[in-house]
């Protein structure tokens, strides 16, 4: 109960602060296991996508988050485990870890994921090269749809290291879903995902 209240409070707060507009281009939100992948510039990124999903889908969508950041401190731990129901990954993979299986479990259970394939927050314009995890995930779950989501402005409003948010208006653009083609090579799939995401960028500079 408390978790649900907190979750909706966070969603309302970030929507109010960013005046966000969610633009569903070419497709509508679907209730099936989906991987939403987005550009990553701010800690608020996953929350903004999560807040903009219809509430029925939001309850079945889980952000993929870095364990080393979120397990520091009891409150953060509580937030990511109970409120946002994050899927925690260790960024420094040890022997015996299987991050693809960890991410795959919710998909098998019919849930969706929010993923940032750049792996870290980008402080420059454009996109960093994608990590290969998204391709491994697509290989393990070839039926899953991968939906690109371009986040505009949140990185400027809440940059890495900034404490006070600049009250900029943000927008989310959801693109057409991608699936792994038969015999598609890793580099090709990663390039296709990256191009699809960049094509959604609202403004070119």
């Amino acid at each position: 109960m408390l978790e649900k209240l907190l979750a909706s409070a966070f969603c309302r707060a970030i929507k109010l602060m960013t005046g966000v507009r969610a633009l569903w281009r070419e497709n509508q939100p679907k209730a099936q296991p989906t991987v939403y992948f987005a550009n990553h510039r701010s800690h608020g990124d996953f929350l903004l996508i999560w807040a903009c999903l219809p509430s029925a889908l939001r309850a079945r969508t889980r952000p993929v988050a870095a364990a080393d950041y979120w397990l520091r401190g009891a409150f953060r731990h509580y937030l990511i485990e109970r409120v946002f129901r994050g899927v925690l990954l260790d960024r420094h993979i040890k022997r015996g870890d299987d991050p693809i299986a960890v991410m795959g479990a919710p998909l098998l259970a019919g849930e969706s994921l929010i993923l940032f394939p750049e792996g870290t927050r980008n402080q420059e314009d454009g996109l960093l090269p994608f990590k290969s995890g998204i391709h491994h995930l697509a290989e393990a779950h070839p039926q899953t749809e991968f939906v690109p989501v371009w986040i505009e402005n949140l990185g400027r409003a809440m940059p890495k290291g900034g404490l006070i948010p600049v009250p900029l208006l943000c927008s989310l653009t959801f693109g057409a879903p991608l699936t792994l083609l038969p015999d598609e090579r890793r580099a090709d799939f990663l390039a296709r995902c990256r191009t699809a995401l960049l094509a959604l960028a609202a403004l070119s500079d």
Binding site: G19, D125, R156, L168, L169
Partner: protein, 370 residues
């Protein structure tokens, strides 16, 4: 012919009632158009027209409420409009991590300070805060972040946003600072005159353009602006401005002339901001006002006309027999006797012959305060 001019309160009630009446007519026309032309079907032009009229209802009611509250209400309303307009401007402008601090200064320091200066009638600092202080301080803040990529362009954009959205728009509530002899207690209706005239011009340009617009003025900047719309809109709203002369300290011909000037400026305000939008590949600045786009789409004309209108009104006051300080704006010294002393009355006040009434406080020659 002697026309009895209603007292300030009655004037505001009259004007807002007239606006509500006009909106009733507009809503009726919208409903009739939907019924006759579109036969209840969706029609983009008529649907947009009705959305625009509904948004006007909300805007007029909001203005009526804030004018009913008085000076504080109007200052807060324009502070909010500036905030939202600056948000829209900076949101579509290219900035980098190095501008983060400069942007925080804009939103959380310069914007509130500018409106606080109006509330405290500190005209001297109000007039130069953004063109001088912000102009010099913001690029320093950005340069300290040691990112030189497109530096001049970024600094210029931030300054432009602040000038258009905060400095220029704040000249509307700055009318409340004006001290026009024989017009005391009526400054709110001066602000209303400006807003009504300029917005009427926008609306009439839209109507004339839709009714008989043929020759496009500059399709590469704004596809909807036509020569017929411009001429018809500006002439109509100049007539409206002249008809409202009794709200102002001007004679009818002066009111008509000043209405013509601010309508032309308002037109070019929309024109210049459209050029910025096209450069950024946008149709609207935002989506806050249904049917109109963003708030900046609604106030672009106001931001170009308000400074010139305010300064004209201020200069007009100079010709009266009472000496004026700062082009007719109440000098900061008037605050001295209200217990918020910051500096002594200026020499201009000390040199003043005889008495002078400001906001109920009588200034005497060589007045010594605090």
């Amino acid at each position: 012919m002697i026309i009895k001019i209603p007292d300030p309160q009655t004037t505001l009630v009259l004007i807002f009632s007239a606006l509500a009446g006009l909106l009733f007519i507009a809503s009726a026309i919208g409903a009739a158009l939907r019924w006759r032309l579109a036969r209840g079907q969706a029609n983009p032009v008529i649907d947009n027209l009705i959305a625009r009229i509904n948004a006007w209802w909300v805007m007029v009611i909001l203005f009526a409420l804030t004018f009913w509250i008085g000076n504080t209400g109007v200052i807060l309303l324009f502070a909010f409009i500036s905030f939202q307009a600056l948000r829209e401007f900076i949101s579509v402008t290219y900035t980098r991590r190095g501008d983060y601090r400069a942007l925080l200064w804009c939103f959380f320091f310069f914007l509130p300070l500018q409106y606080w200066l109006i509330a405290t009638h500190w005209y001297g600092l109000f007039a130069i805060l953004i063109p001088v202080y912000a102009f010099l301080l913001l690029p320093i803040s950005a340069a300290l972040c040691a990112d030189t990529t497109r530096f001049l362009e970024r600094a210029a954009k931030v300054q432009w946003g602040l000038m258009i959205c905060v400095y220029c728009l704040s000249y509307v509530p700055a009318l409340l600072m004006l001290n026009i002899p024989g017009f005391s207690g009526r400054n709110l209706q001066l602000a209303l005159f400006l807003v009504i005239t300029v917005q009427t011009s926008d609306v009439c340009q839209y109507i004339w353009g839709k009714l008989c617009g043929k020759h496009k003025l500059a399709p590469e900047i704004s596809p909807s602006k036509t020569l017929e719309g411009l001429v018809g809109g500006v002439l109509t709203s100049t007539a409206v401005g002249a008809a409202l002369w009794w709200m102002t300290p001007f004679a009818p011909w002066q009111a008509a002339l000043i209405a013509l000037i601010i309508n032309m400026l308002g037109f070019f305000g929309g024109f210049v901001l459209s050029a910025i939008k096209r450069d950024r590949g946008l149709k609207d600045w935002g989506s806050m006002i249904e049917g109109h786009g963003g708030i900046l789409d609604r106030v672009d004309s106001l931001s170009f006309s308000a400074p010139i209108f305010s300064i004209s009104c201020g200069t007009g006051g100079e010709h009266e027999s009472v000496p004026q300080v700062g082009h007719g704006f109440t000098c900061r010294a008037s605050g001295v006797c209200r217990g918020t002393a910051r500096r002594a009355p200026t020499p201009a006040y000390k040199a003043m012959p005889g008495l002078r009434e400001t906001k109920g406080v009588t200034f005497v020659k060589n007045l010594e305060c605090g």
